[in-house]
Each structure stands twice: as C-alpha cells, then as structure tokens.
C-alpha cells in the first residue's frame, strides 16, 4: 500500500518571552495509507490541530519532514492543494455571505464548475438554506458548510479536524455514512475527533498523540488487541469462593480486581491457565470471558488521561513518550 500522508519527526515550538518554550509537536510521526479512514486522536492540547495546520501550510514547522501523495511539503503544496480538502478546527466563514456565495467564491478561486457547489450543498443537507447568510446559521449548519467546503474540490485526501463538533445525532450518523461512501470511492480520510465510539465505528486505523509525540498507531483492532492486556472476566459457581480465588490467582502472578459477583483479571496470556489454577484449588469456574476493550479505555490508558477520583487533571498532564516512568506502552503496531 502506498502512503497518502507521511510525517516524520515533525517539530513545532512556540516561544514566548513570558512562558518560555512549548513543544507543541516534539518529533511526531504519522503515516496514512491510501483509501483508509484514519482516526487522529489525542487529549486536548496534544498537537492534533497543530499537526494538521502545519500539514496545510498554515504553520511553519521547526523541523521534520512531511509528504502528501508522495510529494514533499511544504514545497509541493501548491501542486497538491487541489487534491487536499480540509477543515481545521471550528472553521469560520465571512458572516454576511450566504453558504452558496461562500462556496461559489471558493469554487471560482479553485476553477471548479459552478454545479459542484449545488452538489455538495445537497450532500451536506444545506440545499434549502444555502441562500441565507452564514451569520444566521446554527453551529451544526456552519459545520456542515465547512464539510461542504472541504468536499468541494472532490479531494483525494480529506482532512477533517473535529467535523462532528456540533452535529446532531442524525448528522453524526450521516457523516459516518458519508465517510464510508467517500472511502469506498477511494478517498483517504484523516479524522480528528474526541468521539471515540465514532472513531471505532468508522476508522480503519488510528494514530494517538500525546504531548506532541505519537503514543500508538496502527489498525484499530491491532491497537485494541495490543492494549487489551489479556483482560478476562471470571465468575465462580459460589460467590463465597471469590476471596479464595483472588488469593490463589494473585499468587499465580495475575492481577485481580474483585467485583461484588465476579473478578476482573488482567495480564492473562491464556485463559486456560486461570481455569487450571482454580481447579487445582477445587474452585470451579462458571464463566471465563476474555473482555474486549473499547477504544476509549485504550485511549485513556495510553495517554494516561483517565480521571482519578479526587483529582483534577490539568491539560498537558498526559503521557510523555520517551520519558522514564511514564508507564505508557510505547512502540508501534502496524509499522
């Protein structure tokens, strides 16, 4: 497979006289294969928008290499711009123009036929409101207009930074369908979002970023499998036996979390071991289920941003790759 998007060692440093330097991107890597829907995840302030802005030539990086469709950026940007449609974080439009005028002006600047404007307006469901001024639009309508502007040039690579922001449930589902259709038609989509259920549903692969560095990447199922850490749910015939089972399993080197009517185990290689160890002690298993983790828990674990009771996590408190004691799983999958 060929890479539509490649980023290697991208760095962006913000300097301020008062607050010193901030490494918004600190040697970030990313790779998106052709035809994929790729999820781009990370906590607030981890550098997603900065990455996408840099890629689109709006921000000058301090180092690293980027390529889109095999062409080096930012030199080749004028050449590839026509094939990259993008919305960047809460896009804004001139408030006194209508949606049709806004898109019409973009289409004219991009030398696209006029009827394309009506096509995309239809696609994002703004057809009947296209003549009204953007100022009067709701948040979701503006977001739809943004998606329309990104789709206008029928790009090979579509970059969407939080496109679902403000969309209604129907709109989110529609967007999901749209992504599927687009990728089926051969478009590559990069999607940044905090709605992980959504990402899990529509993305083929993901990149997870934390504090400007990549913490995980690869096909969604591989990332999930890699970080499910052998979670297993165990029920016994007699609930009263649970404390003894806990003790036995802990001795066997398995991490156990006791719940009222079952045990949650982690770090289990082969579930069969569990049933053997327990049987040796005369404890009989009534249920032994490997638990599928969801993207959300993997994300929280990888970025170390799961809420801790009694603590208020501050932004920028997340996994720093390459620092000892961070406790994060580093290294990639699918590379």
């Amino acid at each position: 497979m060929s890479a539509v998007l490649e980023i290697e060692g991208l760095r962006k440093t913000y300097r301020s006289r008062k607050r010193g330097v901030r490494h918004a991107l600190d040697g970030f890597d990313m790779r998106v294969e052709a035809g994929q829907v790729h999820g781009f995840l990370g906590p607030n302030g981890s550098g997603k928008t900065t990455t996408l802005r840099t890629l689109l030539g709006l921000i000058r990086p301090n180092g690293g290499r980027m390529a889109i469709l095999g062409q080096e950026l930012p030199q080749a940007l004028p050449a590839v711009a026509g094939q990259v449609g993008a919305i960047v974080e809460s896009p804004q439009f001139f408030p006194h123009f209508s949606a049709r005028d806004t898109l019409g002006l973009l289409a004219q600047a991009g030398e696209l036929p006029k009827q394309r404007v009506d096509e995309v307006l239809e696609l994002v469901g703004l057809r009947d409101r296209a003549g009204e001024r953007v100022k009067t639009y709701s948040l979701g309508m503006k977001q739809r207009l943004a998606v329309a502007s990104a789709l206008l040039k029928n790009p090979k690579l579509l970059i969407l930074d939080e496109p679902a922001n403000g969309l209604d449930p129907g709109g989110i589902r529609e967007m999901r369908g749209l992504m599927r259709d687009l990728s089926a038609a051969g478009m590559t989509v990069v999607l940044s979002s905090h709605i992980l259920g959504e990402i899990q549903l529509i993305c083929d692969s993901v990149t997870i970023i934390s504090l400007g560095r990549r913490v995980a990447f690869g096909p969604v199922d591989e990332v999930l499998a890699a970080h499910s850490q052998g979670a297993v749910r165990v029920r016994l015939e007699a609930v009263t036996d649970l404390p003894q089972a806990t003790e036995t399993l802990t001795r066997a080197g398995i991490r156990v979390t006791a719940e009222p009517d079952h045990l949650m185990l982690s770090g289990v290689d082969k579930p069969a071991t569990v049933s053997r160890v327990l049987a040796e002690q005369g404890l009989y298993v009534s249920e032994l289920t490997p638990v599928a983790v969801d993207l959300e828990s993997v994300f929280l674990e990888l970025t170390a941003t799961a809420p801790v009771p009694g603590q208020h996590r501050q932004v920028d408190q997340s996994t720093k790759v390459g620092e000892p004691g961070s406790g994060a799983t580093t290294g990639g999958w699918g590379a």
Binding site: R60, P74, P78, V88, F93, L105, L106, A109, E111
Partner: protein
Amino acid sequence: MSLYFTELRRLSKRRLTRLLLVLLLLGLATVATAFSFSSHQLSKETVAAAQVESDAQYQRAMEDWKKTVADCDAAKARGDQDTEERYGPNCGRDWQPQPEMFDPKWNLPYQFDFRAEFPMFIAVFAGAVALFAFIVGASYVGAEWSTGGMMNLLLWRPKRLAVLGTKLAALLTTVLGVSLVLGAFWTLAFWLIGRYRGTTAKVTAGVWQSIGLDGLRAVGLILLVGAVAFALASLGRHTAMALGAAVAVFAISEIGIRIAVAVLSVPFGDRYVLSTYAQSWFMKKVELFDYDTCQFAKGACEPAKLVVTWQQSALVLGVGAAAALIGAFWSMRRRDIA
C-alpha cells in the same frame, strides 16, 4: 487570473463596499447640487444693474461726504472746538470716496468660475474618495483575516504572497474604477454648473490639461490611501488595526508634532507634519515661512522660506506606503496563520 476575478467579485459583493459607495455617491451629489444653487450665472442685465447700483452708491457716498465736509466747515465757522474729533482732521476732506471703491463686482451674486475654482473641487473629491478607499481597503482584508476567510482561501491557494498581491490588485482596480467613473461625473457636473449657472470662460486646452494632471494626482493619492489601509489591516490582521493606526498617525503627526515643534520652536516645524505633504502634493508646492528670522523692530522683512515641492511629497508618501506594503507582505510570508 481566476483568483483575481474571484476577489473582484468578493469585494463587490460586500455590503460595506456597496453601502459606502452609495454614501459616497449621495455625498458627492449633495455637494454638487447644493453648490449649483449657490452659483448664479450673470446675464448682461445683471451686470448692467450692478454697474448702475454701484454708480448710485458712489454718488450717494460723494453726497454724504460733501455734506459732512460742509457741516464741518459750518461748525468750524461757528467756532466749535471739537471738529477734529467729530469729523477728523481737515474736516475729513482727505477721505473723499474713490470710484474704484465701488466695484460693481460687490453687487453681483456669486458666480462659479470653472477655470479658477474647479481644482479646489478636485481636492474635495479626492478627500471623499480617499476616505472610501481607506475604509473599504482596510475592512476588505481585515474582515478576511478576522473571520477566517483568509485561512479558508489559503487552503485552496497556498501561495500566500500571490493571494495577498491578488487581493491588493483587486482592491486597487476597484478603487481606480470608482475614482475614474465618479471623477468623470464630478467633472461633468461642475462643468455643467459652470456652463449653466456660472462661467466656463477661458477654459482652454491647457486648462483641461492641468485639470487632467490634478485628477491624476488625486487618483494617485486615493490609490495610495487604499493601499496603505490594506497593508495596515493585513499587518494587524484586523480592520480596526488600520483605523487605529490612522488615528494614531493623525494624532501624532497633526497634533503631537505640531505642539512639539511649537514648544521647541523648531524652524519650519510644519515640514514634519504629514498633511503638509498631502497639501503640497495637490498644490504642487507649499511654502513654509520662519518668522523668527525677522526682527520687525527693524521694519518690514522677508521671512526665511522653505518650499516643499510635490516631488518631495511623492517621495515621503511613497516611502511611507512602500514601508507599509513591504511590512504586510513580509508578515504574510513569515507569520503563522491561526
């Protein structure tokens, strides 16, 4: 090229552009109309009547004078001592009214003289259109920056300098078009006022040529103002930046420097004031005098003189505008776009 036409369309679609254009039209039309009422064409009869009236005034004044002198003489003959105070020395004989003091001109209504007065109206026109160019130029690019339109456009056209340059070109051509069209109407309106309610006497080809040159200067100044507004708003990435900078420059140059040079009694202080250059650009030259070099006790004196020529104005204004534009393009090239 498609970008250029897009920008022309964007500019003309803007409500502010349209609104200001309407206001400008109304303003200019009002001035011309009001002015046409204040001017009255002089017919032969009016001129003759004015001549008759001033002759009569002269006669009346002569009679009054003769009577006063006679009164004075009579009073003197009676032996009054205060005739000096009441009638002046020598009974006011030296104050005989002269015919030239009763010019029939004073009895005529105002008549607009196209040849002599139209150049002033070119300056009025330039002021109004320059204001239009400033606001439209600043808000056109300022709003693009502050509403994210610029960012959207750069996603389509990543060549930043070309985008900014095209926008500037679109602005300048629009302003040029407006100036030329309105300027033609303005000239026509005043020529008609001159023709039908004033005089267009002695308007030779040479006069037209000089009017044409004045018009060119006016257009040049208008374009310069538009470009500077554009550059400032782009530099500050907000319309208000240009307006703020204009207010600041005005306050510093026209008030601050004026006060400073007055306090420090700098010779020819006005040469540090921006409006001197705008003035000399129109008048072809401005003469500044330094009265401090005169010692009036020694009698009349020619004060030291400094001439600011229109070439110097072109240099000062041009360098200022170029600095603003270079700054705007440089920052467009260098700065991140958020």
